[in-house]
């Protein structure tokens, strides 16, 4: 049992735990926090996978920005306890089980996938910076266009928020 493995299992457990909490929590705010937990543990896993930059973005943007937005909205609407109605029988009796079934199927196939067996190169402090430069190269040369497109996307998001969330005049 080496340190990375222990870390992996720890984070994995935390992530799954978070996900389960997200489901079980009746207070939206709790769910939100559970989700933050998931994201945090994922960030650690990214580090394990030797993608520190991604991990950073994960923390800053995701946990930092997006989740804050969530929490903010929850507070704004002071969304109370979730009422567990079950008008949709099909969701209760079919949807949830099938969800788990899907989980199972994908998990099994991913476990036995050929690439699954390849071993990730451990975290080398040396190639980190290079990693990031490479990354930026990729981003601005190879994937420049999507990158530019995302700017429009953001614009759209802003517009949408403006249109929808404003008070009725």
């Amino acid at each position: 049992m080496s340190v990375p493995i222990i870390m992996f299992f720890a984070c994995a457990l935390l992530a799954v735990l978070g996900a389960v909490l997200l489901i079980l929590a009746r207070e939206p705010i709790h769910s939100a926090l559970a989700l933050v937990l998931v994201m945090m543990s994922l960030a650690v896993l990214y580090l394990l996978l030797g993608a520190p930059f991604v991990a950073a973005v994960q923390i800053i943007v995701y946990a930092g920005a997006i989740m804050v937005l969530f929490v903010f909205v929850i507070m704004l609407l002071n969304a109370g306890v979730e009422e567990r109605t079950d008008f949709s029988k099909i969701a209760k009796w079919v949807g949830v089980p099938l969800g788990f079934f899907l989980l199972l199927v994908t998990a099994v196939y991913l476990l036995h996938s050929s690439i699954g067996t390849t071993i990730a190169t451990g975290v080398g402090a040396a190639n980190q910076a290079a990693d990031t430069r490479e990354l930026s190269q990729q981003l601005f040369r190879q994937y420049l266009f999507p990158f530019e497109a995302t700017s429009i996307l953001i614009l759209i998001a802003i517009l949408g928020a403006l249109v929808l969330a404003r008070k009725d005049e």
Binding site: R141, A157, V163
Partner: protein, 498 residues
């Protein structure tokens, strides 16, 4: 560093002309946003005209694409007659939708700049979708169109239906997107690339090597189908469509029911025909099953609708089914048939919804089929146009709809698989079922007298123009389809499927 970036850009700018329509659209979108603050509430209509000009310019700029076939942005974007064809369809739909919106927004008191900007951005997204040669790029385009449509659907904020539709569309839409994305991840995992042509060759190698497709690839295929199937509204992912189409502002419905479908089908063609060409025998069945379900669900459920808008929503589901029939042929002819069908479909569907948009009157109150009683005598021309669109949707000869079906069935019957024959027969039977509810509207319009006290408002010029274009186009496609058909064939050929 900065300099490097600029250099990079200038080098990349060379590619922009291969994105001419998108660039134009985004430019106008931003322009509208920039101008918006300086125009007082009463004059917002101008922005609509600007948007129209934008769309038309984009349509014109498609010409540039024609002259610069090839790939752009390190092969993320592919410009070929296929994407040109789809661009044209989308932009025509956009133009018609905008024409239909001008007065609608006035009527509903929601004449705002954002609306048009969002429309343009959405269309730009679809444009990207049409030209995308790379899955993540496609994903971005998809999101551009989706997110702006979420907003557009909810644009009549005060109407409960509108914001409910917006919510449903948003939640389910992003749900489906997640599947799509996961699918992409799988593909990436298997092939190590997300470029469609690269995926194609990679998969072919694998198949050549191990004799069959790896499970992950198939898993990815299935998940991608979920994501795209949702966008093109095929069973069992069609559930959201009726609610959303009914709740959305009708011109938006018009756009939503037509353009994204076209764009997404284009992407689907690229992914299934090219990238997963080696898995044809697999996805064929997915398409087959889905097509049967889609047609039956769409038509049978439409039979019992009492609300024209919702009825048309179901009918658009059914039509997705017919398109799948052509899709299942998995041949150049099939692709051509899909494209031709889309062309015809866009015209008649947008036309039909624009009629509904007008006939709905203030607050979209008159949507029940019975409200159309006597329209034939009150507004003969409008009724005539509507009948034309309905008959075309029904598939009556001398209309685009008929030839769409015709080529679709033809392609399917020429296809490799014997089960296609059964599929075509099912489709045929379905189109008879469909006949019933389309004709019912005509019955009400012409054979039943309307209430004396109600006189509909006259058709606004802009709408009239839009309807005229749609009607003329429908007839043109029905009587002299040769040019468009050849165009579609060329487009299909440019897919160069092996």
């Amino acid at each position: 560093m900065m300099a490097a970036l600029i250099a990079l850009h200038s080098e990349q700018l060379m590619n922009l002309h291969r994105l001419a329509p998108e660039v134009v659209l985004c430019f106008f979108g931003i322009l509208i946003m920039a101008v918006d603050p300086f125009i007082r509430a009463s004059g917002k209509r101008v922005l609509g005209w600007m948007a129209l000009i934008g769309a038309l310019t984009a349509l014109a700029s498609v010409h540039i694409l024609v002259h610069y076939p090839g790939t752009a942005y390190s092969n993320l974007i592919r410009v070929d007659s296929f994407s040109v064809f789809v661009h044209v369809i989308i932009l025509v739909a956009a133009v018609l939708a905008i024409l239909g919106s001008l007065d609608y927004l006035d009527r509903e008191g929601i004449q705002r700049g954002e609306y048009y900007a969002l429309v343009l951005f959405a269309v730009a997204g679809m444009g990207i979708l049409a030209g995308a040669n790379e899955l993540v790029t496609a994903f971005i385009g998809l999101e551009m169109s989706s997110i702006s449509s979420y907003v557009l659907v909810g644009f009549r904020r005060r109407a409960l239906a509108s914001n409910e539709a917006s919510m449903k569309y948003f939640l389910l839409g992003s749900f489906a997107t997640a599947f799509f994305l996961y699918g992409i991840a799988m593909v990436y995992g298997v092939t190590g690339t997300t470029r469609i042509d690269a995926v194609q060759s990679a998969l072919e190698q694998i198949v050549a090597g191990q004799g069959r497709l790896p499970a992950l690839a198939i898993l990815g295929l299935a998940l991608i189908f979920v994501g795209l199937g949702f966008k093109v509204v095929v069973a069992p992912f069609q559930v959201y469509a009726p609610d959303v189409y009914e709740g959305a502002p009708t011109p938006v419905t018009a756009l939503l029911a037509s353009a994204p479908k076209a764009a997404t089908f284009a992407l689907m063609l690229r992914i299934f025909y090219i990238a997963f060409g080696s898995a044809g025998n697999l996805w064929f069945w997915a398409i087959w099953v889905s097509a049967v379900l889609t047609m039956f669900i769409g038509n049978l459920a439409a039979l019992v609708q009492t609300n024209v808008k919702r009825m048309l929503a179901y009918s658009s589901i059914a039509h997705a089914g017919y398109i799948l029939v052509a899709f299942a042929a998995f041949s150049e002819a099939g692709a051509a048939a899909v494209l031709f069908y889309l062309a015809a479909y866009v015209l008649m569907k947008v036309g039909a919804f624009l009629v509904v948009a007008h006939a709905g009157q203030q607050g979209e109150k008159r949507l029940a089929i019975q409200d159309y009683a006597g329209l034939g005598s009150k507004q003969p021309l409008l009724a005539a146009c509507f009948s034309l669109f309905l008959l075309s949707l029904l598939g009556l000869p001398a209309t685009g709809g008929f030839l769409g079906k015709f080529f679709a069935f033809q392609a399917a019957l020429e296809g490799r698989d014997r089960w296609l024959v059964l599929l075509v027969v099912i489709a045929a039977i379905n189109s008879v079922i469909g006949a019933y509810y389309y004709l019912r509207v005509i019955v009400v319009m012409y054979f039943q007298a309307g209430s004396k006290d109600y006189t509909p408002s006259p058709v606004a010029p802009a709408v009239a123009v839009a309807l005229f274009i749609a009607a003329a186009g429908t007839l043109y496609l029905g009587i002299l389809p040769a040019p468009i058909l050849n165009f579609a064939k060329a487009a299909a050929a440019s897919l160069s499927l092996r």
